[in-house]
Symmetry: C2
């Protein structure tokens, strides 16, 4: 019954393009036994950096420190380790995160608050500081411009595949490059935390604008995916702009730049769902004609998080009673179910609250058997639409999450 | 790896006591192939009836009709079928529910709106009305006072065991009896819906007071349990008071009566969790010193619903990072994690946000290996406490819910 974990329609990234002004080193610090686990990213002077972070109240030490450093000054280095999340580690965890930044600063002649720290892996264990001490000098001397594919592989934890994408576009006659990588497989893994994503461009983007761009892109990508409703203590998404292409992002070209960043973030976010823990399906929940965006998201997540919907998806069972249940169970007070229509792919299940006349179990079965499934819910009570992406709930999900430490 | 579904520390009910003024018939109407599936309950004239129902917007036809009938007049009969939920059945489903009530009314010489209908089972299929037509006359002529154990068995769907409890107490020198039965195994089952519970007493309780009593009892019992966060379209809890004992519930004895009803409801609700789909653990989430009751429940349910906490419970893995994550992921804005303390049973994990000094993995393992586990979360920011009960997330849960129709 158990099947091998395999991502849904996702291959490893093609050659990721170097981004002028970024330099990467990837090495095995020994946090894991037998693989690379540490990435150092250097940024050209004058780069701007923006970020969005987990809203979990128990956010990990590196997240707290990273947010503080971003506020204080311009950033020159990012230090990312896999294998240990430095979360739930109390005040010693914070001291260790600070020490990591100091080590990078000493090796690179910058200030400690110009270094942004990121950790992903086991929660509740202190970082092995001796290993960082040994590895950081080595990392600082092996920075290389063309190292994004290695970085994508180095930051993964329980992911089954590296995730990344590159894009080029023309801004005012100049070619700019955008390269992004991400990791994550559940919102939080066994004991392993986290979604991490890093997107770099050689466009020149003023700090405030860059923050705006990343927040907008997050809303329709990383904030519209869910594997299991659980939110990691370490989630971080960073957008870096080195300016090395000379192309400046301004009011006249911001729309197309935003669009490109959106596309990169959507790819990276969807890749996490396609590689979701135990995922056998890639599912789009498409809510239309809601009263407002918040209502649309409430309904979409109620369906996306429902264990009974997710097990039906795993079973390829057109069990539409569970969809009704999940749409109806939110606390939206005046939802009129007699207006709601439902589709599985192009097959209509429900028309204004009544079972659709032409629906047959065989038609539903046909849609549910697909690897990529769209559930569309029309509320007929407004003009807000939203899309959320999720995976199914399989035996493999339980196996991964129940048996990880055994 | 898969194990046989077995409830956690729950045996079938002992002999349930008859409640003077209630009469029950249980028979096989043929909705299921080879078991009893229909219960008719008659109530003595002058009985009062109160109810609480699912808040799911897609509530089933019988629920809508039952609520209307309860408003309109005094109730004399309850008709309960297993095997078909009459949910997601549109206007024909409502017609069928009405017809069921009319059939009972014709056989018993009462009005159709004195009949309360309940259905549990498959969603999205119309009731087999010919079977009701054949069975209802038979039910009306076979009502018997001492039939509660049979009723408890007849209303179950995917439950592995019948659930019930009886209690007697002294009210002003008179003995009153309380007998309750319940069914449910997920908040909603495969394709099968629902938690149903019926509690009867021969005390005399005025209608409004009775409604008050059942709402208070629900808050600390049925509204404090969760298997999978999914809310059925058919959930119903009914409290009936026949008054046949002659003991009248008044201001002077309401407290002890409320306490007895609370205990009966808590037993029936916890029995549902102990028989939860695939449950191998019975878990109490005990949140203390929250700012208010709502905040306490938000935190408790965040932990109780977390798939990662639930898979760790299944694995008996003291993976306390997941508990931190689940406490932290709610949207309570000013939660100070440096005040939070956490215990597994009597073993402290976290003291005011720092890892507890004496904690060892072996101690955590010892607690997690138990069949009954208490997770205590002290927020140190107020005086509100709450308890929520839940089960774990096992292979069996996925098997039951993914493979039911195959």
């Amino acid at each position: 019954m158990l099947q091998l974990a395999m991502p849904v329609n996702l291959a490893p990234p093609d050659k990721l393009l170097p981004v002028p002004g970024t330099y990467l080193a990837c090495l095995a610090a020994g946090i894991y036994k037998d693989r690379r686990d540490l990435v150092l990213i250097g940024l050209a002077e004058g780069s701007t950096v923006a970020g969005v972070f987990t809203k979990n109240a128990f956010c990990a030490a590196p997240v707290t420190l990273c947010k503080a450093h971003l506020q204080e000054t311009g950033s020159r280095y990012l230090l990312i380790n896999a294998g240990n999340a430095n979360a739930g580690t109390g005040s010693q965890g914070m001291d260790n995160a600070r020490l990591c930044c100091q080590m990078v600063a000493e090796q690179t002649a910058c200030e400690a608050n110009q270094v942004l720290p990121f950790s992903t892996g086991v929660i509740g264990e202190q970082l092995p500081m001796d290993k960082f001490e040994a590895a950081i000098p080595q990392a600082a001397t092996s920075l290389s411009a063309d190292n994004w594919n290695d970085a994508a592989e180095t930051i993964i934890t329980t992911d089954t595949i590296a995730k990344g994408i590159s894009k080029q576009m023309n801004i005012g006659g100049q070619t700019i490059t955008i390269t992004g990588i991400s990791k994550g497989s559940g919102m939080i893994n066994p004991n392993m935390a986290t979604m991490l994503a890093y997107v770099a461009t050689d466009a020149k983007v003023e700090s405030k604008l860059l923050q705006n761009v990343i927040e907008q892109a997050t809303d329709m990508s990383f904030n519209a995916i869910t594997v299991d409703s659980d939110t990691s203590t370490n989630d971080s998404l960073i957008l870096m702009a080195t300016g090395q292409s000379g192309a400046m992002i301004t009011d006249s070209n911001i729309a197309e730049f935003q669009q490109a960043i959106n596309e990169v973030c959507l790819h990276l976010a969807q890749a996490i769902i396609r590689d979701g823990e135990g995922a056998t399906k890639f599912v789009t929940i498409d809510v239309t004609e809601a009263k407002d965006e918040a209502e649309a998201k409430t309904i979409a997540y109620s369906v996306a998080h429902s264990p009974l919907v997710k097990t039906a998806l795993f079973a390829s069972d057109p069990n539409w009673g569970r969809l009704l249940m999940a749409v109806g169970k939110t606390d939206i007070v005046d939802l009129d179910v007699n207006k709601i229509s439902l589709w599985l792919g192009k097959t209509q299940l429900l028309e204004s609250g009544e079972p659709a006349a032409n629906y047959t179990e065989a038609l539903g079965q046909l849609e549910m058997a697909k690897e990529e499934i769209t559930i569309r819910i029309n509320l007929a009570r407004g003009s807000a639409n939203t899309k959320v992406w999720t995976s199914d709930l399989s035996h493999e999900y339980v196996r991964i999450n129940a048996e990880y430490r055994s």
